[in-house]
Subunit: 350 residues, 2 copies
């Protein structure tokens, strides 16, 4: 169905008609000039926003709309966890061109809702408008935390342990796979068009690589890690999520905390599929893990005294420690050689 059949308000009504709010802090959602919230006494309110542009942050040739909706919500929800907070509400703005249908928007909202339900987040408002070119998505997520629970980037101290959840570099390798298959398909399409033939859209064989695709197309926010840390009685001294790459993120923590660091290459967690794909693409897997980005894992520091406890937490690995700023920001390689870390991760403006 063409979106013009419904218009802006018809489309919003259609997409949001089944939304039920689950949080006590949500007083009123979609339908007025503002959404209305009320947080319990003394709670800190956390706000984060991310913009996703077609052709820059996602490629619709291989990104299903439902996955895109899911991921758009997750990348924002992840930022609230990265403050050690609980996400509560989300507003979503979309600008779309005429080639999108009502069904596309339904798929996008299905994904958005899935992420919201999983993380008990209420979809409370937004803006739906048109774009002359591609799809633009902007999401703002609002969360809460007790003042004493909030973890900023600036609290890392000398001798703190540097920890990371999950594994790194998989999303980047997933992207390489998708880009390669896209190039192959587009080449076949050009050949077929030259011969006046039609080309059936073929499903490339990604067997044994499913994990890598999932990491780029359907990343998860590490609520489980936040919960396990709380259960273990650990409050990180600093934390952020890894969206641009481990290397650039640890440098943010060091700069904002006024410290240095030593990261150990052999401690960086890698999945088997990531290592295998890196070899196939003739890429250095450590470089992929350091600079790949989009993993949405948590990077955090804990006091040295928490070593025994943090080491036992499932899916968390100690990868180095914090030093004085004068000692620099170093990567210690498997052979013992040392390098200065460089922020070579995702930078959309370079």
């Amino acid at each position: 169905m063409e979106i013009s059949e419904l218009g802006e308000f018809g489309l919003i009504k259609h997409l949001t008609k089944d939304i039920k709010n689950v949080n006590e802090s949500t007083i009123k959602g979609v339908g007025d000039d503002c959404a209305i919230m009320q947080y319990a006494e003394g709670k800190r309110v956390l706000v984060t926003t991310d913009m996703l542009m077609e052709g820059v942050h996602f490629d619709l040739q291989y990104t299903p709309m439902k996955h895109l909706g899911y991921k758009s919500a997750i990348v924002n929800i992840s930022d609230v966890y990265a403050m050690n907070g609980t996400p509560r509400q989300l507003v979503v703005s979309i600008a779309l061109s005429k080639r999108f249908t009502v069904e596309d928007m339904e798929d996008f909202y299905d994904g958005l809702r899935m992420a919201c339900e999983l993380h008990h987040v209420d979809l409370v408002g937004g803006d739906t408008t048109s774009s002359l070119t591609g799809l633009a998505i902007s999401i703002t997520c609002i969360g809460e935390a007790k003042p004493e629970d909030v973890v900023e980037r600036s609290g890392a101290k000398e001798t703190d342990l540097i920890c990371v959840s999950g594994n790194l570099g998989a999303a980047y390798m997933g992207l390489q796979l998708l880009e390669r298959e896209k190039a192959v398909f587009n080449e076949q399409l050009r050949e077929a068009q030259k011969k006046g033939q039609t080309l059936e859209p073929a499903q490339p064989d990604f067997s044994g690589r499913e994990y890598l695709l999932e990491r780029i197309l359907k990343p998860e926010a590490r609520k489980d890690v936040i919960e396990r840390l709380a259960e273990a009685g650990i409050r990180p001294t600093s934390m952020m999520d890894i969206s641009d790459g481990l290397s650039s993120e640890i440098m943010h923590i060091c700069e904002q905390s006024g410290v240095g660091c030593r990261l150990y290459e052999d401690r960086i967690p890698l999945d088997y599929q990531t290592a295998a794909a890196a070899e196939e693409f003739n890429l250095n897997v450590t470089t992929c893990a350091l600079n790949g980005g989009e993993d949405y894992e948590l990077l955090f520091t804990v006091p040295l005294t928490a070593n025994d406890v943090v080491s036992k937490i499932e899916d968390v690995r100690v990868i180095g420690y914090i030093t004085a700023a004068t000692e620099g920001k170093k990567l210690i390689c498997r052979d013992g050689s040392e390098f200065d870390l460089k922020a070579q991760g995702w930078n959309p403006l370079q």
Copy 2:
């Protein structure tokens, strides 16, 4: 200066280095995964978001970047006033293509900051990224209000008076003027190019029309009206700001309140410049006022008993009253004839 010289984090640091937060509720602004706020006990938190796309919501051929920054903030701030709230924080996301310079972004931020300072709003975060095509702007504004002060769209009651601030249709006429001059300039440019000549960018003569241009390029949010209503002890029963057009907005209030309305054509406030320009363009000035949009005036209803008080408030006019839903949504023309109101205002998706 090219933006790539600074990169994403360099640009953000450059643009936000002088920001000073003025609100007690702002705990931490730019620089972490989330901004951190804390509102006083019992306060409602209001959140609104708007997306502005190049070529759809603004035309950079005649919109200076500074004005665009100002307007982008104002349209969001206006939504908080429309809930009878006080705007406090703002996050801004921008996606820009390579043709924009650091100076363009400085101008945009200058405008943004001007609006924030005027309304005592803190710029607490955002996202700066790239776009393959035009400029995309997404702003989320956060405000607060006591629960008993919040005014929704759904509270209008039979016999309530319908009021509007300022005057209507001026922004629409300003847009017509700019579009006409743009067409003239582009035609001259084509002619000059045909002859191999260069064309000096000429400043069209807008004398006597300054107000219309200001209304489209630099709209204001009616904080003053909210303050005057509070001083007069009037809490509107329903309220919204006029962004799409009086006709479509009063219909929202009627539908959400389950009522009808009677609007009087001869009561709709018009500026002299709007009327003169409408005549020149051979447009019906009432149609411009009803459907023009972008005026960012406040539309609200008050109990009939407030008639004497509201009639004395500067720059506020009673333009009709609320009826039972069964009586429909009517415009009463100067000659006494009645018409059904139609939502023919701005609809980006039709």
